[in-house]
Amino acid sequence: MPVRLYLSNVGKSFTMHLQGGTTIPVVSGVDFSVDAGECVVLGGPSGAGKSSILKMIYGNYRCDQGQILVTVADEIVNVADAEPRKVLQLRKDVIGYVSQFLRVIPRVPAVEVVAEPLILQGADEGKALAKARDLLTRLNVPERLWGLPPATFSGGEQQRVNIARGFIAHYPLLLLDEPTASLDAANRAVVVELVAEKKQDGVAMVGILHDQDVRDKISDRIVDVTSFRAEAA
């Protein structure tokens, strides 16, 4: 299978100016690749830099060193130095991000929150909403909630709305930031199914997953982030 994502010698540190300019090294020399249809899980204890790596791939954190190469059709884009509008284009069509936290937008009903990414990719609104209802059903979000804005939902309900939103569109590269944290077994099983379907579609995935059972079921390979530990300067 073709390589979808390649991180080459990626490094990141934070300089905390409010704490006297302390530099906190996060990772250095990060080097791995992910093929289409493959799910790579980042391993290592909390604080090893797993989330920072995902956020750099999404362009949410800046990348200080190295390259983050994403294959887009017949073009290769380096996220590490891409212009903001290029990154936004990638997020619309190429890179998806599923996190456990929903950023609530006032007054937008759950079903529209879920359908939005697919509509932005140019899908017919009716079809996108139908797919959104289908995903909400699969993730056991009660139908009476679909027309309501998720601001008042429970944490678990918001999380499942967010998972539906993350999986609805077709992104060749999907980042999973602990999507199953605190989900019950039935919903974890749904996420495992959704990931399997994405693999069938040739989607490359990078995940952070603390649930051992989910991890065993979906990971094709584990990349141990502790080997990219940056040393304090």
């Binding site: 934070f14 300089t15 905390m16 100016h17 409010l18 956020k55 362009g59 949410n60 954190y61 800046r62 903001p84 509008r85 990154v87 936004l88 284009q89 937008i105 006032p106 007054r107 937008v108 932005l120």
Partner: protein
């Protein structure tokens, strides 16, 4: 959204500088704005945000620098070399300006319908029935009941006035809208409604927006890109979530860490 990834910028700003006597308003600001892009200018009071916005919108001539705008015919024109008639036409039709204080952007003694209709007449619409119909439609889009069309904005609440000002600006389908603290001074539930409305209209109409705000939550919700200003200069710029989640400059880190968590 269709021309969002068009390669031609709508606005090209080079080295814009404005002095007030020997004090700096803003200094050496350069950036490009693309169609469909929402740019937030953030920073504390006195950082030069509004000076810059006024320079960009031809309300205040810069001391130095150039601002070029892509006219509807596709040609880039230097804004400060436009004739007065051309400049006025641009401001009345192709641009919008949403003031913090709605009274600055509305005519307070004429009806809500006339406030919206006036912009239509500026672009040559003379058919009363059509103007009234369009005005009613726009009042609906900004969630003002149609039975308020003949009331003047003095009888409106602050939030309604602000929504009316937005309708007045958008009715001519401008391509670029400047906003100066559009949610400032409104209470939070009114703010949330206005923000959601703005977010939808901006996306539906594919507007380019330059919005000045000191509220980082507003910037996060509405903007794609952010410029942080301090002492008249742009000190940090980038994707909105990148600047807010991974701020690099000491001042930006201070701003981000000063947000109250609810």
């Amino acid at each position: 959204m269709t021309d969002f990834f068009n390669d031609d910028p709508l606005l090209q700003v080079n080295g814009v500088t404005r002095y007030y006597g020997d004090r700096i308003g803003c200094r050496n600001v350069s950036f490009q704005l693309w169609p469909g892009e929402v740019l937030a200018i953030v920073g504390e009071s006195g950082s030069g945000k509004t000076t810059l916005l006024n320079c960009l919108s031809t309300r205040l001539a810069p001391t130095a620098g150039a601002i070029e705008y892509r006219m509807r015919d596709g040609a880039m024109r230097n804004l400060y070399q436009l004739g007065e008639a051309e400049r006025r036409l641009l401001m009345r039709t192709d641009w919008g300006f949403v003031h913090q204080n709605a009274a600055d952007g509305l005519r307070m003694t004429v009806s809500a319908g006339a406030n919206v209709g006036e912009r239509l007449m500026a672009v040559g619409d003379r058919h009363y029935g059509h103007i009234r119909e369009t005005a009613t439609d726009w009042l609906g889009r900004v969630e003002i009941e149609s039975d308020r069309i003949d009331d003047d904005p003095r009888s409106f609440s602050g939030g309604m006035r602000q929504r009316l000002q937005i309708a007045r600006n958008l009715v001519t389908h401008p391509r670029l809208v400047f906003m100066d603290e559009p949610t400032g001074g409104l209470d939070v539930s009114v703010q949330a409604r206005l923000l959601d409305l703005l977010r939808r209209l901006v996306a539906d109409l594919g507007l380019s927006v330059i919005i000045v705000t000191h509220d980082l939550a507003v910037a996060r919700l509405l903007s794609h890109r952010i410029m942080v200003m301090r002492h008249g200069e742009v000190i940090e710029t980038g994707l909105t979530d990148q600047v807010l989640d991974d701020p690099r400059e000491p001042y930006t880190q201070l701003l981000v860490s000063s947000i109250l968590q609810v």
